[in-house]
């Protein structure tokens, strides 16, 4: 509650927005070519006054909330060839400070939705329509897999063998037997070998290890 150290003016609209976009950048796993930000509620209404636009762009460029270049993020994006678009959206009964980010990279496309809950605390709750929980307060593994029996157990086994403790786990799917997604908050990151092994498994479609963004 004393922190983050940040560039002003708003912990929820500036620091929180930057963190949400930074999480989205880590999820994409590469520099985006184009990002469309859908601003909901207070993000849409007072975003401009709070530097929300600058902070979101800074985040997808990989800048942290205390980076003083946050102020010049729009020109930085232009120099790096990242196209950014802002829209006002209505996302229904979600937190007033919510953003839906559609990112396009060389290899991937991803839609990431999250809320800034106050004091810089954030939560990504949706990745490509899968329900997740990514808070950036601990290293988090996000896994997309084939929805088939035993996958959760296999992934948990790999973590256990690497002596990684699970703090919080979500599993969700869109339909039975289709694709599913897990978000796994861990007490420490998974080491490189098991991470590679995980990505190699046939029923694992996609893996990202997200570093913490809270300090």
């Amino acid at each position: 509650m004393i922190g983050p150290v940040m560039v002003g003016p708003s912990s929820s609209h500036t620091a929180g927005a930057c963190r949400l976009a930074l999480l989205a950048r880590y999820l994409l796993g590469e520099k985006p070519k184009r990002v469309e930000f859908g601003l909901h509620g207070s993000f849409a209404k007072t975003g401009k006054g709070h530097g929300t636009h600058l902070a979101l762009v800074a985040g997808v460029l990989g800048l942290k909330p205390d980076d003083e270049r946050l102020k010049e993020s729009l020109s930085l994006a232009e120099r790096e060839g990242v196209e950014v678009v802002f829209k006002e959206v209505e996302l229904g009964d979600v937190h007033p400070n919510t953003v839906r980010m559609a990112l396009e990279g060389e290899k991937e496309r991803l839609v990431v939705t999250g809320s800034s809950l106050g004091g810089g605390v954030v939560r990504v709750f949706d990745v490509d329509g899968f329900e997740v929980r990514i808070t950036g307060s601990a290293p988090t593994l996000v896994v997309k897999n084939v929805d088939t029996p035993g996958v959760v157990a296999r992934v948990a086994r790999i973590l256990a063998d690497d002596e990684v403790n699970i703090a919080y786990l979500t599993v969700s799917r869109k339909k039975r037997g289709g694709e599913a997604m897990m978000s796994i908050e861990m007490d420490r990151p998974l080491t490189e070998k098991p991470l590679e092994y995980l990505a190699y498994l046939s029923y694992i479609l996609w893996v990202r290890q997200i570093p913490p963004v809270m300090d």
């Binding site: 150290v5 708003s10 209404k45 006054g49 007033p96 800034s116 004091g119």
Partner: protein, 284 residues
């Protein structure tokens, strides 16, 4: 059970020691590591006060930027160096914030000036060395966390009472501990500060964290010092501290959307407020 203001009030020793113990258990960090992090944040707070007092550069929307410096350099007809110091320090931090300068959120950016205003202001007034401010900061963080378990600390969720109310409660507890108060006094200082911010709305002009935010931090830093002074004298909150926090959370839910950081109501929705918003948006 995590600490609450009520359970803290029932303990002996120093309030901050209990909070630090809980923080060590929760994070797995050593006490030294936690204090080191706060030492760094304290130095950034100090830095933002210094920069803010010296600068008269305009804010992003241009509605503030010279208030802290003006007050700091003005004649003091009241002959009260503490009052002036606390106000000016707090406003200095929030003017830095409004310029998109580097600050420490405490607990939010919009309310970042209250804690350094009260704590550094009192410490400098009395000549208390920086190192002695670390444990009060531990307590302030703990108080923020206790409130944060009950309500999302954001103007968009609970109005300004959730932001400035929390920062004033944190600051009141910290100043009380700095001046030798018991855990009971600290918890009640927080409750007294908080209950006298209840209902405060978040109505920033144009949605910018400038008006009324900058001056409000000056006011509520003084408010926090008042709460500490009352609690140290033995005054207690009639409504138990935890119930005050719950009342704040409930009021937060009752407040209409227009008064929760949307820039649609209150001062933002005055003829001048609307005009300033238009002008500022052209500039930003």
């Amino acid at each position: 059970m995590p600490l609450t203001l009520n359970s803290l009030a029932a303990l002996s020793g120093r309030a901050s020691e209990h909070v630090l113990r809980e923080e060590v258990e929760e994070t797995g960090l050593t006490p030294e590591a936690i204090l080191e992090k706060l030492r760094e944040r304290l130095s950034i707070m100090r830095d933002s006060v210094r920069r803010g007092l010296a600068s008269d550069a305009p804010s992003v929307a241009g509605m503030v930027g010279r208030n802290a410096k003006t007050l700091w350099e003005a004649e003091d007809p009241l002959k009260d160096p503490l009052l002036k110091r606390v106000q000016a320090y707090a406003m200095a931090v929030n003017e830095e914030n409004a310029r998109m300068g580097r600050i420490v959120a405490a607990p939010t950016a919009g309310s970042a000036g209250t804690l350094p205003g009260a704590l550094l202001g009192v410490a400098d007034h009395l000549g208390i060395p920086e190192e002695e401010l670390l444990m009060p900061l531990v307590l302030a963080a703990g108080v923020g966390k206790m409130i944060g378990r009950v309500i999302h600390i954001a103007g968009a969720s609970g109005g300004c009472q959730a932001e400035i109310g929390s920062s004033a409660a944190m600051a009141a507890a910290a100043v009380t501990e700095l001046l030798g108060g018991t855990p009971e006094a600290c918890a009640h200082a927080a409750a007294l500060a908080l209950q006298n911010t209840l209902g405060l709305v978040c109505d920033p002009v144009g949605g910018f964290v400038e008006v009324p935010c900058v001056m409000r931090n000056g006011f509520y830093a003084v408010h926090a010092v008042s709460a500490a002074s009352m609690a140290l004298a033995g005054i207690r909150s009639v409504i138990p501290p935890d119930e005050v926090v719950l009342a704040m959370a409930r009021i937060g839910r009752l407040l209409p959307l227009e008064l929760k950081e949307t820039g649609l109501g209150g001062l933002a929705d005055t003829p001048t407020g609307r005009k300033l918003a238009e002008e500022a948006l052209k500039k930003a």
